[in-house]
């Protein structure tokens, strides 16, 4: 279909076209409050077309199976007629790296197998006074991208998501703790065990509630708790933010003193076993590893084709597009520190919470989840969030969970000096990171 569509588009445009076609099937199972409740399937097919005509770019998308190709081309042309001029070159055919994206065991896993995995997880999490939700989803997809310059790619992919959360309500104290596995292949029994162990370990430590400390303190952020500290940085490393003049990191590439010398960040679209990995991006640019920050020095920003064209840069293979709207620059697998080795890498939480960073803390916090991450003026770097799940650390030991506390600071100040990286690097969604110790984080209590 995509070839006929491009052929049709080529006849009506003077600057070429590209298109993405995607078919997704999902099977999902949900256990609600400890009981298997529902099973579902999803089948979705859509196509997104971009044309360049008269120097301007237009897009159109549809999920309607009965759409006429001529209609879709006409809508894209109408969109281009209003567009602004951009010198968008569609990339020519180029070698595409081999990236395994489809795993038979995951793609062919039966509904019963998903249900069994869910039951196994429920059994491991059963505990007096607690309720458990478990959700499992298997996705298979077929993606085709092509452009009028002769570049094309097509791949099948599989993805498995398993998530569990435990709810403990005692009077008005509500504690919710969860963890998840995301991978392109089925989780091993060890990986499922790790989800349960991660939840149980953190739950055991949370049963005692202690008063929060106060002041500028050492705080260890777990791989999950790091979200608030990395979000402004990834936003600022987007070529789009640079182009718009709102990136605090613009123009700082190659300079020292911006981040701690031990801070390295990369984006790896070729990482084996990750659902976000792919051989080619959604605009026919081959995938690669992009070093964003190396030993504290900013190396590169991410670009899709249009942002790159406007910024007079090269696409870094970060074009992401859905069925509706135009492509945007987006990350794949963000890795803090050295790139992980091995398929799927570790999902396991280490036995020791805090990744070995707590030993020298006289009084501080271990932060696992914050409330309100992503709200407010993120890219500026200032943050202030109440804790959802955090533990007090006294004389190197976790003494209990703290409630009614908030942490605040400026990420660009905090990342200048890192107290240490933990030995517990793991995947949390599409981010791979260890725990991190930062000094002088403001902690407020009520």
């Amino acid at each position: 279909m995509i070839d006929r569509l491009l052929e049709q588009a080529r006849r009506h445009t003077d600057g070429g076209a590209d298109a993405l076609w995607r078919r997704v099937e999902r099977t999902s199972v949900a256990f609600e409050w400890g009981r298997l409740k529902s099973a579902g399937v999803t089948e979705e097919t859509g196509v997104n077309l971009r044309v360049r005509h008269g120097g301007c770019v237009g897009v159109a998308g549809t999920t309607a199976a009965d759409v006429s190709l001529a209609d879709l081309v006409a809508r894209a042309l109408a969109s281009a007629a209003l567009g602004e001029a951009v010198d968008l070159p569609f990339p020519p055919r180029a070698p595409v790296p081999p990236v395994p994206t489809y795993f038979d065991r995951a793609g062919e896993a039966s509904l019963d197998h998903l249900i069994q995995m869910g039951r196994g997880l429920l059994d491991r999490l059963a505990r007096e006074g607690c309720r458990v939700n478990v959700a499992l989803e298997r996705e298979t997809a077929e993606t085709r991208v092509a452009n009028s310059a002769g570049a094309a790619g097509s791949y099948r992919s599989s993805a498995i998501a398993v998530s569990a959360d435990v709810w403990r309500i005692a009077g008005d104290d509500v504690l919710v703790l969860g963890d998840a596995f995301d991978g392109a292949d089925l989780p091993s029994d060890a990986a499922l065990h790790a989800i349960a162990a991660s939840i149980n370990t953190r739950l055991d430590r949370a049963l005692t509630v202690v008063a929060p400390p106060e002041g500028a303190l050492p705080v260890v952020f777990t791989p999950a708790g790091l979200a608030a500290l990395l979000l402004p940085v990834t936003q600022a490393l987007s070529g789009k933010a640079v182009l718009q003049g709102i990136s605090p990191l613009a123009g700082k590439d190659g300079q020292g003193g911006v981040f701690d010398a031990a801070f390295s960040l990369s984006d790896d679209a070729t990482c084996v076993g990750r659902p976000a990995s792919r051989p080619i991006d959604d605009e026919c640019v081959p995938s690669r590893v992009t070093r964003l920050v190396e030993r504290g020095v900013v190396q590169r920003f991410i670009y899709d084709l249009e942002t790159a064209a406007r910024a007079k840069a090269q696409s870094t293979g970060h074009g992401q597009r859905g069925i509706f709207g135009k492509p945007v620059p987006g990350y794949t697998n963000v890795v803090l520190g050295p790139t992980p080795d091995g398929v799927g890498a570790r999902h396991a939480v280490p036995l020791q919470l805090g990744g070995g960073l707590l030993a020298n803390i006289r009084d501080g916090l271990l932060v696992d989840e914050l409330i309100g991450v992503g709200q407010g003026n993120v890219i500026g770097g200032a943050f202030s969030h109440p804790v959802a799940l955090a533990y007090r650390v006294e004389r190197g030991e976790i003494t209990g969970r703290v409630k009614d506390a908030a942490v605040a600071g400026n990420v660009y100040e905090l990342w200048k000096r890192v107290g240490g990286f933990g030995n517990d690097a793991r995947w949390t969604g599409s981010r791979y990171a260890p725990s991190v110790l930062l000094e002088g984080v403001s902690v407020a209590r009520r």
Binding site: T42, L82, Q375, P386, A444
Partner: protein, 459 residues
């Protein structure tokens, strides 16, 4: 279409079957800075089937190809049978309805050219850029849709609706050296083209605010008496209390049920809260929910006491209560779950000045950048604020983040003014992977005797 759906219902072997089909035409225009990012027209369509069998669970299927309708009904039946459930799932009775509801399109957006929509947004975006050369970036979006909706179920309900929606939003980013601030404007209406013609002033104000915030100090962290403006009060009641009143949170969780026992006191007698899916002319308003239950006004807190909660047919049956018309899905891609519609804090008495008259040092928190709740704990980021000094509104402040415990905070609401208004904003509510759901919030100004305000914390 109705004939096609009822025929498919007739062929279903399940005890209960529902089918929903949607066809949505939408256009979207986006400006970033001075540049048009995109102007597009899209068409989205698909169906959703959900079935239930005795001693079995829900089987659900969603699909974009309507040719697959019969196959998906059969597949949902198989899935349901594969899920053994004990005790069985029951659904509360709802009388069958047959209705054609063609909402007022108020200037059908499908009859307006993409070029006209671009011109409108260009003017609004231009108003933000014209405020100051400190405005270094803007993001302005216009989105509209008309959705044709069909719903049938095996209880005999047959619905056919035409639903319009139009949303406008603007973000203005002001910068001076390393300081970056933003101002927001957002409008969301279940109406059409005629309703979005006078938005210029709102966009300009957002940009002016961003520039003013460059010079505003960060609020000093601590506890204060806090007055919320109607917009932030609305977001607060939605996030901090509304989600707890969704019965899927409590119906099969004995501890949660104990925490949310009807008759429990949650606040002072001034506090009245409800959810009204039938309120005329609001974005969260529809005649029926996505299970075919009529929408209604549901009191949740009356004079400080918990009196009700929001239900689907399943949660209502389990708890022996009545369905409230709150089972909603964002699209054919999802199953209906318990959601809010138009959530409100009821009107109080007096004016804004009455709330601040006896406050010597406090915070006036206005508008919302966002809010998140983790049940008993919440966090809201006000778009801006003012200090209140000796009974008067004083200097502009920024980075006003309100954090707290729900139970304590509700109980500390001690004064509610009589200046209620609905806030017709864009965006929407997210839950269970379903975002953005069209909802509205409404409230008067209200005062919290004491609340934790995050910000600059002295080391």
């Amino acid at each position: 279409m109705i004939d096609r759906l009822t025929a498919a219902l007739g062929r279903s072997r399940a005890d209960y079957t529902e089918i929903r089909v949607e066809r949505t035409w939408s256009t979207a225009v986006t400006f970033r800075g001075r540049r048009l990012e995109s102007a597009t027209a899209s068409e989205d369509q698909g169906g959703f089937v959900r079935v239930l069998n005795r001693a079995a669970g829900w089987g659900v299927a969603s699909f974009t190809s309507l040719d697959r309708l019969d196959a998906m009904v059969a597949r949902a039946h198989e899935l349901s049978r594969a899920v053994r459930v004990d005790p069985p799932i029951r659904l509360a009775d709802v009388a069958p309805h047959q209705a054609e509801a063609m909402l007022d399109l108020d200037g059908d957006v499908r009859g307006v050219s993409l070029a006209e929509k671009k011109r409108l947004l260009e003017a609004y975006n231009g108003a933000m850029l014209a405020v100051s050369d400190r405005i270094v970036d803007t993001l302005a979006t216009y989105r509209d849709e008309v959705s044709e909706y069909w719903f049938v179920n095996s209880d005999g309900t047959i619905l056919h609706e035409l639903r319009p929606e139009v949303t406008l939003s603007g973000t203005a980013v002001a910068r001076r050296d390393g300081t970056i601030e933003k101002g927001l404007e957002s409008v969301g209406l279940r109406r059409g083209w005629n309703s979005v013609q006078d938005g210029l002033a709102g966009f300009r104000t957002a940009a002016e605010r961003a520039v003013q915030l460059l010079d505003a100090p960060m609020v000093r962290g601590g506890t204060y008496p806090v007055i919320l403006d109607p917009e932030l009060a609305g977001v607060f009641i939605h996030e901090a209390f509304g989600h707890l009143s969704e019965a899927d949170f409590v119906y099969e969780n004995p501890q949660a049920r104990a925490m949310m026992t009807l008759g429990r006191r949650f606040g002072k007698p001034v506090l009245h809260v409800g959810d009204n899916g039938a309120a005329p002319g609001l974005r969260g308003t529809l005649p029926f929910d996505d299970e075919g239950t009529p929408t209604q006004d549901t009191p949740l807190i009356t004079a400080g006491v918990l009196v009700g909660r929001l239900h689907s047919r399943e949660t209502a049956a389990t708890m022996g209560e009545r369905p409230t018309g709150n089972a909603r899905a964002v699209s054919f891609r999802h199953a209906p779950i318990v959601r809010m519609t138009n959530t409100y804090i009821g009107n109080g008495r007096g004016t804004f000045d009455d709330l601040i008259r006896d406050v010597t040092l406090g915070v006036y928190a206005c508008s919302a950048f966002g809010g998140q709740t983790l049940l008993e704990n919440f966090s809201f980021t006000a778009a801006y604020g003012h200090m209140i000094r000796d009974g008067h509104v004083a200097e502009l402040i920024k980075d006003v983040v309100l954090a707290g415990n729900l139970f304590q905070t509700l109980d500390r609401i001690d004064h509610i003014a009589g200046d209620f208004r609905w806030n017709q904003m864009g965006g929407g509510c997210g839950k269970g992977g379903q975002y953005p759901l069209a909802v509205t919030e409404g409230a008067p100004h209200m005062r919290i005797e004491e609340a934790l305000v995050g910000g600059d914390v002295p080391a």
